[in-house]
């Protein structure tokens, strides 16, 4: 068991013929993900000649889902088209949509998210590395070579910082159930508490690592959730204690606004909720093992 993706995941790739789409589709197939179709409006009827498989291309998600029985999609399209792609996937009724695209305007995401809230679609991202279940399926760009199957769940707003921690776990022989990169944008799909809830309910996950950063108050909400609803141990790291206020630290959502969104506030909230917080990502592995 694991959360969100596994061997039963049947994946569509929206934007499969682009540079990123092509490269990472091959990577996902190589990892063992069942990629059942691609979606590129105007290229329906063509095929994606992957390194490990030939994947049919469709004009629309609806059509692709009907033809292939897909139950998830991943989006590799430019920011201008990504809101459309998310809405299309939700409109087609896919239960899981993962959007890697960066640089989507906030007001667009507010509209997309309001639409998704009326549907039964879970969104991961945008501006995220996706998620991976070792031994199950990879839906995103987290390197398959650094993960190993096991029982630690991981949820993070960051990309390479997550890789760091996952890799350290793998090197110490600590496997992961699922690693979820929820992304660095201020308005997104699933947030910490949504993923924590799934980990709490997943029998194959024994404990959870959560990697936050400055900006917003998702970590504070997560702290309240952990205190009230979680029995599993949670270990956290919050990046950005040295970030200056008022500057966006690479991620659109990583900004201390006045006195809100600081690392100190988040760490205090988490510690008050019984979460152990590492002051150095290198120490996370020691803290859980």
């Amino acid at each position: 068991m694991s959360i969100l993706v596994d061997k039963n995941t049947r994946l569509l790739v929206q934007g499969i013929t682009g540079r990123e789409g092509t490269f990472h589709t091959n990577q996902m197939i190589a990892f063992g993900t069942t990629v059942v179709g691609g979606v590129v409006p105007g290229k329906g009827g063509q095929s994606f000649e992957g390194e490990g498989a030939i994947v049919p291309i469709f004009d629309s998600v609806r059509e692709a889902a009907e033809a292939t029985g897909a139950n998830a999609s991943i989006i590799f399209v430019p920011a201008r088209f990504a809101p459309d792609a998310m809405v299309e996937a939700a409109d087609a009724g896919l239960p899981l949509v993962v959007c890697l695209t960066e640089h989507i305007p906030v007001l667009e995401m507010i509209a997309v998210r309001a639409y998704l809230d009326q549907r039964n679609t879970r969104l991961i991202g945008p501006n995220c590395p996706g998620l991976i279940t070792p031994g199950g399926a990879k839906v995103g760009i987290i390197p398959g070579s650094i993960v190993s199957p096991g029982h630690v769940g991981l949820v993070s707003r960051s990309g390479t910082l997550t890789y760091e921690v996952v890799y350290a776990l793998t090197q110490r022989g600590i496997g992961q159930s699922t690693c979820v990169g929820i992304g660095g944008d201020p308005i997104k799909g699933m947030d910490f508490i949504d993923v924590l809830r799934l980990f709490e309910d997943d029998p194959e996950t024994s404990e959870v690592i959560m990697i936050g950063e400055i900006g917003g108050n998702a970590e504070e909400q997560a702290a309240a959730f952990v205190r009230e609803h979680m029995r599993k141990r949670v270990t956290a790291f919050i990046a950005g204690r040295t970030a200056p206020a008022g500057r966006r630290m690479g991620h659109a959502g990583a900004i201390v606004e006045g006195k809100s969104g600081t690392a100190e506030g988040k760490i205090a909230a988490l510690q008050a909720a019984g979460v152990q917080v590492a002051d150095n990502p290198d120490r996370i592995v020691e803290m859980i093992s």
Binding site: P105, E164, P186, I211, I214, G240, T242, A263, D282
Partner: protein, 391 residues
């Protein structure tokens, strides 16, 4: 991206918000002429992309055109928080004086995923401080994007602020205008502080703040053109052009990292081991030689940098490729600043071996790398100090 006060107010005015008459001056003589055309009395305000202009002496009242010229002469060229003032806004004074100062802003509430209007009768002050000390003085309503600002919402705000009833209608128009301006321009913040009640009993936006959603600049070309490149550190402007995210800080240890979260974590660890990060730098995905070279030049352009820490996680890109990229880049750069490279992930060992062969300082963990970089920085600083004393 932040706009200047004068740009903000002009955008507000496009949405029907009353602002003072005024013009931008680049020379004292221009300031004088503008004050003259406004009738003599005026306020001269430094236009720089930072707060605290008032305290720094960047805002002055002028009783006549001569004073306006004199103030402009003082303010132009002044440095405020490291930024040079290149222009001033010369505005008329609020007609009839100021009866009361209010606060009004539109921003995004991330938790509720909605734009939010924030208003307070405690205007003209630092709103963070108001929020901290007297949160009951701040009133908010959330906007449904499908409905826009609704009259009952502005009535609610006006009433809680204790605004005189005869101003409710004007206030509604201003809130609606500020929200429409926010939405039309993909703002992340539009703020009027103070919004004043003039002596003539009218509402007027005396000051304005405007932040644009960087991700929306592609569809807001007019705003993208408003960027004041003179105001930006040269390094940050160059980084932006080459697709690197770079933020100049004040410390002694430069760093170059792939990924924003990892870059922040790297800064944090430098601090944890006694250094101060000199910058935030996210080099993005691949760490190609040309990008590494550009990034390194940006870091080294800061004379305070005493050591540089590379922290690259090899995921899809393998560690040996990254190492070769770094070595190629270093061939192009002439520097004696010590450098520590930390590689992790796929093929990290092969990469570290390549770097060790080339006599680079390397590290296997982030902690080790930070410690080495801080130590190297301290040693270099000490050597420099000794060298200076010796010479």
């Amino acid at each position: 991206m932040n706009l200047h006060e004068y740009q903000a107010k002009r955008l507000f005015a496009e949405h029907g918000i009353p602002i003072p008459r005024g013009e931008v001056a680049y020379t004292p003589e221009q300031a004088r002429e503008i004050a003259q055309s406004l009738g003599g009395r005026a306020v001269v305000k430094a236009q720089v992309l930072t707060g605290g202009r008032g305290k720094a002496g960047g805002v002055k009242l002028a009783a006549n055109p001569n004073e306006a010229e004199a103030h402009a002469a003082n303010i132009l060229g002044m440095k405020i928080k490291g930024l040079t003032v290149n222009k001033v806004l010369v505005d008329e004074l609020a007609p009839g004086g100021i009866q009361q100062e209010l606060y009004l802003a539109v921003l995004i509430d991330r938790g509720r995923r909605r734009p939010m209007v924030m208003a307070s009768a405690a205007g003209g002050m630092d709103i963070e401080e108001v929020a901290d000390k007297t949160p009951e003085k701040i009133h908010t309503v959330h906007i449904d994007p499908n409905l826009g600002v609704r009259g009952f919402q502005t009535t609610y705000l006006a009433q809680r602020m204790g605004l005189p009833r005869e101003l409710w209608r004007q206030f509604q128009d201003i809130v609606t205008g500020l929200y429409n301006c926010f939405k039309a321009n993909d703002a992340s913040l539009t703020e009027i502080n103070p919004l004043v009640i003039t002596g003539e009993g009218k509402l007027m936006a005396l000051d304005g703040k405007f932040s644009v959603d960087d991700n929306a600049l592609a569809r807001q070309p007019r705003l993208a053109d408003m960027r004041d490149v003179e105001e930006e550190p040269l390094t940050e402007a160059e980084a932006r052009r080459t697709g690197i995210t770079f933020i100049q800080l004040d410390g002694n240890i430069g760093c170059m990292v792939n990924g924003a979260g990892l870059a922040m974590a790297t800064m944090d660890i430098i601090k944890l081991y006694g250094g101060e990060p000199a910058n935030f730098l996210d080099i993005g995905g691949g760490a190609r030689a040309d990008q590494v070279a550009t990034a390194l030049r940006l870091i080294l352009s800061d004379a305070k940098v005493e050591a540089v820490l590379f922290n690259i996680f090899g995921g899809i890109t393998r560690g040996d490729e990254v190492a070769r990229g770094i070595l190629t880049a270093l061939e192009q750069i002439d520097t004696d600043v010590p450098m520590v490279v930390r590689l992790a992930g796929t093929n990290a060992e092969e990469g570290l071996a390549l770097l060790a062969e080339a006599d680079m300082m390397t590290a296997g963990t982030l902690s080790e790398a930070a410690q080495k970089a801080v130590a190297a920085g301290n040693a270099a600083a000490a050597a420099k100090a000794t060298g200076k004393r010796a010479s």
